[in-house]
């Protein structure tokens, strides 16, 4: 078709579609679409307060500096602790969400947290088990090889990196430690 004002022809008419596809067109009228218009003030949310009662702040709770105050309700999972806690607290107290530094510090905090937690687990009753925690045994009963051979999958180009993300830092750390010990040993002898 040349470039004219016509809409390209449709493969199937409305009647055909209605016959062939269950429910075709039942929400054609925007009035039947629950998120049209985007903002509606006539919905009953179930709230029976103008402003919610305040949850008790049992531990000092970090918050974005873009908030006027600590919101009345918040999650209490895993309070800040250790070095990662210091880095994360700095991200919250110093930088707004508009600053890349805010998010980069939080990501740095995540990496430090993983290290702190692994080391702490090695000293505790239940050390991290990289085999069971990565779920690798699922390769056996989940058809690891045939699943990957089926069709052409774009994610195979980077799946091999996944073990590096998990094991890479450990390999580097152990290698680094071994080199340091060897260097010390050579200096003494």
């Amino acid at each position: 078709m040349p470039y004219t004002a016509q809409k390209p022809p449709r493969p199937r008419t409305a009647d055909q579609l209605r016959r062939e596809i269950p429910g075709w067109g039942v929400d054609l009228d925007p009035a039947d679409r629950p998120s049209v218009p985007r903002e509606r003030t006539d919905l009953d949310t179930g709230a029976h307060w103008d402003f919610p009662e305040r949850q008790e702040e049992r531990q000092p709770r970090e918050r974005s500096i873009e908030h006027k105050f600590l919101p009345p309700v918040f999650g209490t999972s895993i309070p800040l602790k250790g070095l990662s806690g210091k880095v994360r607290r700095l991200a919250y107290t110093r930088y707004s969400e508009a600053r890349a530094a805010h998010w980069l510090l939080l990501l740095a905090g995540d990496r430090i947290d993983a290290w702190e937690s692994h080391l702490r687990s090695l000293a505790g009753p239940r050390p991290d088990n990289p085999l069971s925690e990565t779920g690798i045994p699922a390769e056996l009963h989940g058809h690891g090889i045939t699943s990957r051979r089926e069709g052409r999958r774009a994610d195979l180009a980077h799946q091999w990196m996944d073990p590096l993300v998990v094991a890479g830092p450990w390999v580097l750390a152990v290698t680094g430690a071994a080199l340091a010990v060897r260097a010390l040993w050579r200096r003494r002898s």
């Binding site: 449709r10 409305a14 929400d27």
Partner: protein, 382 residues
């Protein structure tokens, strides 16, 4: 109680944790009977979401039975079967009062740019999630709803995010009768978005992915035409050819942050965490929609910047629409569609895994093994 806990990127395990407690008078504690692993859980599992703390419990898709309620709860009683939207929201702030439940201002100290989400990092409020035996549910009079007697529990758990989000994504596209709709991503949200596009009167629905078994599902479950982008040199050109060189009227991005298709984008976003998300699907959406068309984004992206082809969006005069789904707003209409037999959400469930084996559930889903589309988690004693 037993709960899934995050142990660092690509690592989770099940631990004994303290029972959640009533922290606020409108809290409830819910005993989980079914939970799900969501595509967006993979972003936190891979360590892409800033402030994901070791020891936290994931899971924003769950249903269960009310175990305990706080003193101000009026609408729920212990023993009630409830479905819980993934949004945590107060029902009374500026945004909730306008129906923007996913953008609540009263539930997330850590960020103003995101609402509250169960089990989705401290950036989303620091709440533990439902991949556990019990979970704290704030604002019990606002979010949760009783599961209708006629509804299957597994359909209910899919209504807490995936189906609601797919249906919402189709609405954001402003589909008019006869429109051609392209959906990027044949995961649960993409499949439901494709299916919902028909309900809104689409004339053609095309689904794009690289996993053959998911495209098969898009053909059978969602009646869609399909394209495997791994078999196309340049998927945008081929989509143009398929739409008379005008482009699609509406394109829905149901992929989000870990999009494949461009290795550099994927590695900088998913492996090196230098972007808020790999915008491959979004860029393809911008380039394959027609001028003056609408791009709807329901894929999850992190808070950092992403390398989006914004100039193309400007020059083509596109409408870009996006949000996290305000789940409970979708329910009354979706309940009707399920009752009328237009939708059977649990048809996409491929795996049911005991909570104790959740690490393998994450690996299967992350590596897309065993034909995995949607995995449900079954807590102990169910």
């Amino acid at each position: 109680m037993r709960a899934m806990v995050y142990r660092g990127p690509y690592k989770v395990r099940v631990e004994e944790k303290d029972m959640p407690r009533i922290e606020h008078p409108n809290d409830a504690i819910v005993k989980v009977t079914r939970a799900a692993i969501c595509g967006s859980d993979l972003h936190i599992y891979h360590g892409m979401m800033p402030d994901t703390r070791v020891g936290s419990t994931f899971g924003h898709e769950f249903v269960g039975v009310v175990h305990e309620v706080g003193p101000s709860v009026r609408n729920l009683r212990p023993g009630d079967r409830v479905m819980v939207p993934f949004n945590i929201y107060c029902g009374s702030c500026y945004f909730c009062a306008r129906g923007l439940y996913s953008n609540c201002h009263n539930v997330n100290p850590n960020a103003t740019a995101v609402g509250g989400i169960y089990g989705y990092s401290h950036t989303c409020g620091g709440y533990d999630g439902g991949q556990a035996e019990y979970v704290r549910v704030p604002f019990a009079d606002v979010g949760p709803a009783p599961i209708p007697d006629w509804m299957d529990e597994e359909d209910a758990v899919l209504l807490t995010d995936a189906l609601a989000t797919g249906y919402f994504g189709a609405q954001l596209g402003d589909i008019a009768e006869g429109d051609t709709v392209v959906v990027f991503g044949a995961g649960p949200v993409g499949l439901f978005a494709a299916k919902s596009s028909w309900l809104m009167g689409a004339g053609r629905v095309i689904v794009v992915d690289h996993l053959e078994y998911r495209l098969e599902k898009a053909r059978t479950f969602a009646h869609a035409e399909t394209y495997n982008f791994a078999e196309h040199d340049d998927i945008v050109v081929d989509l143009k050819k398929a739409t008379d060189h005008l482009g699609a009227d509406v394109v829905i991005d149901a992929v989000g942050a870990e999009a494949d298709g461009n290795l550099t984008q994927h590695i900088t976003a998913a492996k090196l965490k230098l972007q808020g998300g790999s915008p491959v699907a979004l860029n393809w959406a911008i380039d394959s929609v027609r001028k003056g068309g609408t791009v709807s984004v329901v894929g999850a992206y992190g808070p950092m910047f992403s390398a989006v082809k914004f100039g193309d969006a400007v020059n083509k005069g596109l409408t870009l629409r996006m949000n996290q789904c305000p789940v409970k707003r979708q329910w009354p209409r979706l309940f009707e569609h399920i009752r009328n037999g237009y939708l059977k959400p649990s048809d996409i469930v491929t795996h049911r895994i005991p909570l104790e084996h959740i690490a393998e559930g994450y690996h299967l889903f992350s590596s897309k093994l065993d034909g995995c589309i949607k995995t449900l988690i079954v807590p102990n004693n169910h």
